[in-house]
């Protein structure tokens, strides 16, 4: 069994790439340590020299894309079950569209958050960490965090709703009275996506740090 799995081309490829990547990291790290160049590994330099725009836009991108992945995955699972079950029991197809709508809501949460976060990104002046200012760095990191929050929440919510919806469809095909009970499970699954949205709003809602503003205009010392 293991041999069969090893013969899988995918496994070889992923194993190879992973091993190469980590070996490179390991060897570079060992060399830096041996030559007493460990001081050049500077996380603070990386965090202050990289532009806050990168973090903000990563957050926006991940918000929408991870949400859409979750929704798509959920719809894929539910949809295939509905279609499969609908072959033998065509009455299920109208009722089980509710599951699809729950999955779609997750994508809508994602796009709303992406638009809300991107509206907070503005230009700033300053080229050095001192002139950019701490507020701008915090704004960038907040947006990144919010995007990750809503993205991953919606991702898993979408998968969850999808799997439950698939079960609901197949159960409904067998016994029409089961559908309403399973719908309650689906509602709980859908709530977790909403939690993610709320927390993300809280993360970017700190009005002092919301905007990437021109620090000169705010009299920041």
């Amino acid at each position: 069994m293991l041999l069969e799995w090893m013969m899988n081309g995918h496994a070889i490829l992923y194993t190879g790439v992973t091993v190469a990547f980590w070996t490179t990291i390991l060897i570079v790290g060992i060399c830096y340590t041996i030559f007493d160049l460990g001081f050049r590994f500077d996380v603070a330099w990386f965090l202050t020299e990289t532009s806050p725009f990168m973090w903000a836009n990563l957050g926006i991108g991940l918000a929408i894309s991870l949400s859409v992945v979750g929704a798509a995955w959920g719809i894929y699972i539910t949809g295939s079950s509905i279609i499969g079950g609908g072959v033998k029991a065509p009455r299920i197809k109208t009722k089980n569209l509710v599951s699809i709508i729950f999955c779609e809501a997750v994508a809508i949460y994602g796009i709303i958050m992406a638009i809300v976060i991107s509206n907070m990104a503005e230009n700033f002046s300053g080229t050095t960490p001192e002139t950019i200012g701490a507020r701008n760095y915090q704004a960038g990191y907040s947006m990144f965090g919010a995007g990750l929050t809503v993205g991953f929440s919606n991702l898993f919510c979408g998968i969850c709703v999808g799997i439950v919806g698939s079960g609901a469809a197949l159960a409904d095909a067998q016994n029409a009275s089961l559908f309403v009970k399973i719908l309650i499970v689906e509602i709980f699954g859908s709530a977790i996506g909403l939690f993610g949205v709320i927390v993300a709003i809280l993360q970017v809602n700190n009005t002092d740090n919301l905007d990437l503003v021109n620090s000169c205009s705010k009299n920041i010392t």
Binding site: H10, Y14, V17, F39, R40, W45, F46, E49, T50, S51, M54, L58, S65, V87, P90, R91, T128, E130
Partner: protein
């Protein structure tokens, strides 16, 4: 006497003397074919040998002398590039001389030996045509060597050499010898040279039984009145006239055509100065200046090196690295180092804008009395990284009793054991030195240090910098950003592709032998 053509002269003249007839040994056609001339000499040798049996013995001995002389000459030093060609032709028979190797400059000893062997017995009439300046290049430029024989300026000369009994071409003769040719010939012949005007030659009475040394002065072109070609042509006419007069008088002569000085001197570096072997392109060029070292009790404590230390007060940049400063006022201990460079000067800047109260800019000339940059460094222990770090806290620029402070603690730092190096340390573009408070007079002051290296702590006894912690990292911030985003996206792409490839057709309930699924048409 046959003199071997010097090797040094032939390297340039070889190809340039090749005429249109190409390699045709023994043909002897054309004066303007060096190798042809050489091979023509060789072909003449057996002819001479056959026809002059009586002088075979003396010729053998002369040849032996010439050979030994040449052997000695090979060990001689002929490194000077100041060389003059010498052409010798004779209606008498001269001992033959093998041509020297290409590029050889014939030394004076060889010429003297040759002349002695040629003129040792009997009376000879020698015509010495001394041109003010002569070089091989005159022949190649004006000699009609590119197939245009008819345009050449040495037609009489060529004809004379061809029709002579024996001739010799030395493309490169040591210059000192050539300028002393009259003295040399006087010594060899035992007669003093007589300067003759070519017009009066026909009136001159020459006694064939005595040795005669007639010396003709030929001018060289000065470019004022006539072209060089015309001057050389005139000289050639003179030579032709003289030779025809001598022929009319039925006197056997030996003619020498050479120059007092070379007309073109190609400068050449002496081989002994060149470094043998290859050198790295990346190796530091010779003459790299030493770093500035501040010693405390005879051990180096602070070191500074920069290719340029540019300082700007008004509009012009002044490079301080070209001068040597005094280091008065510097101090160096375990926690603080201060390097003070004193550059006294008294220069006048071109313009020095001065803002008056009415914000009207008045330009005037400023005198800079002194320029004193000072570098203040400090060293501290940082607990998180658990090592000592030093930073260049400030660069104070003092001049004319004004001071501006440039703060470098943000960007110029390194572990205390190492030195700091940066290709560009300036105060205006990607500034590592941030200018502090300035007054009206000092508002335009700027610093620009190029290829800057400094170390204030941790110097061992030697005068080398420690490992240089460079201001440029392995990757720039932009590269890191790109790498992070790119790797993230690649990972996402890989994951997505793997998901797609794992989508399979559902085959759990496939039963090839069972009945196929039936779909009811009605609910």
């Amino acid at each position: 006497m046959m003199r071997r053509a010097s090797a040094a002269g032939l390297q340039h003249g070889d190809k340039l003397w090749a005429g249109p007839d190409g390699l045709d040994p023994g043909a002897g056609s054309g004066f303007a074919q060096q190798h042809m001339t050489v091979s023509w000499f060789r072909s003449r040798e057996p002819h001479l040998r056959k026809s002059k049996m009586a002088r075979a013995q003396s010729r053998t001995s002369v040849r032996l002398v010439a050979f030994i002389a040449n052997l000695c000459a090979y060990f001689g030093v002929g490194r000077s590039t100041v060389q003059v060609p010498l052409l010798l032709w004779s209606t008498e028979s001269f001992p033959s001389l093998a041509s020297p190797a290409a590029g050889r400059i014939v030394p004076s000893s060889q010429l003297a030996a040759y002349l002695t062997s040629g003129f040792h017995s009997g009376s000879h009439t020698v015509l010495l045509f001394l041109q003010d300046k002569l070089s091989k290049d005159d022949f190649t430029v004006y000699g009609g060597v590119y197939g245009n024989k008819q345009d050449g300026a040495f037609l009489n000369l060529e004809a004379a050499m061809q029709s002579s009994t024996s001739s010799l071409v030395l493309p490169a003769l040591e210059w000192s010898v050539a300028s002393d040719a009259p003295a040399l010939l006087q010594e060899t012949l035992g007669v003093s040279p007589v300067l003759v005007d070519p017009d009066t030659l026909s009136d001159l009475q020459l006694n064939p039984t005595d040795s005669n040394l007639l010396y003709f002065n030929l001018p060289y072109c000065t470019g004022l009145h006539e072209s060089c070609e015309q001057v050389l042509r005139n000289n050639d006419q003179i030579i032709g006239k003289v030779l025809s007069i001598m022929k009319a008088k039925n006197i056997l002569y030996t003619a020498i055509y050479t120059g007092l000085q070379p007309s073109r001197v190609i400068p050449e570096t002496s081989m002994s100065e060149q470094r043998l072997g290859r050198s790295l392109l990346q190796a530091a060029p010779p003459g790299v200046k030493d770093p500035l070292i501040f010693n405390v009790s005879n051990t180096p404590c602070i070191m500074l090196w920069a290719q340029n230390l540019n300082v700007r007060f008004a509009t012009d940049w002044i490079d301080l690295a070209t001068e040597t400063p005094t280091l008065d006022g510097s101090l160096c201990n375990s926690t603080n180092s201060l390097l003070v460079l004193n550059y006294p000067r008294g220069i006048v800047l071109r313009e020095c804008p001065l803002l008056l109260n009415t914000s009207h800019v008045l330009k005037r000339y400023c005198v800079v009395i002194d320029i004193i940059p000072s570098f203040a460094m400090s060293q501290k222990f940082f607990p998180v990284s658990a090592r000592n770090w030093f930073s260049l806290d400030s660069v104070l620029l003092k001049s004319n009793n004004e001071t501006v402070s440039f703060d470098g603690s943000r960007g110029i730092y390194a572990p205390a054991e190492y030195s700091f190096h940066c290709m560009s340390v300036n105060s205006f573009r990607d500034a590592l030195l941030i200018r502090g408070q300035t007054s009206l007079n000092t508002s335009n002051w700027m610093l620009n240090f190029i290829d800057f290296q400094i170390q204030g702590f941790g110097l061992a006894n030697g005068t080398n910098f420690s490992y240089a912690s460079d201001c440029a990292g392995f990757f720039t911030a932009g590269i890191w950003m790109g790498l992070v985003i790119t790797l993230l996206m690649l990972w996402i792409l890989t994951y997505g592709l793997s998901m797609i490839t794992m989508v399979n057709t559902m085959d759990r309930f496939d039963d090839p032998k069972g009945p196929s699924i039936s779909v009811p048409q009605t609910e």
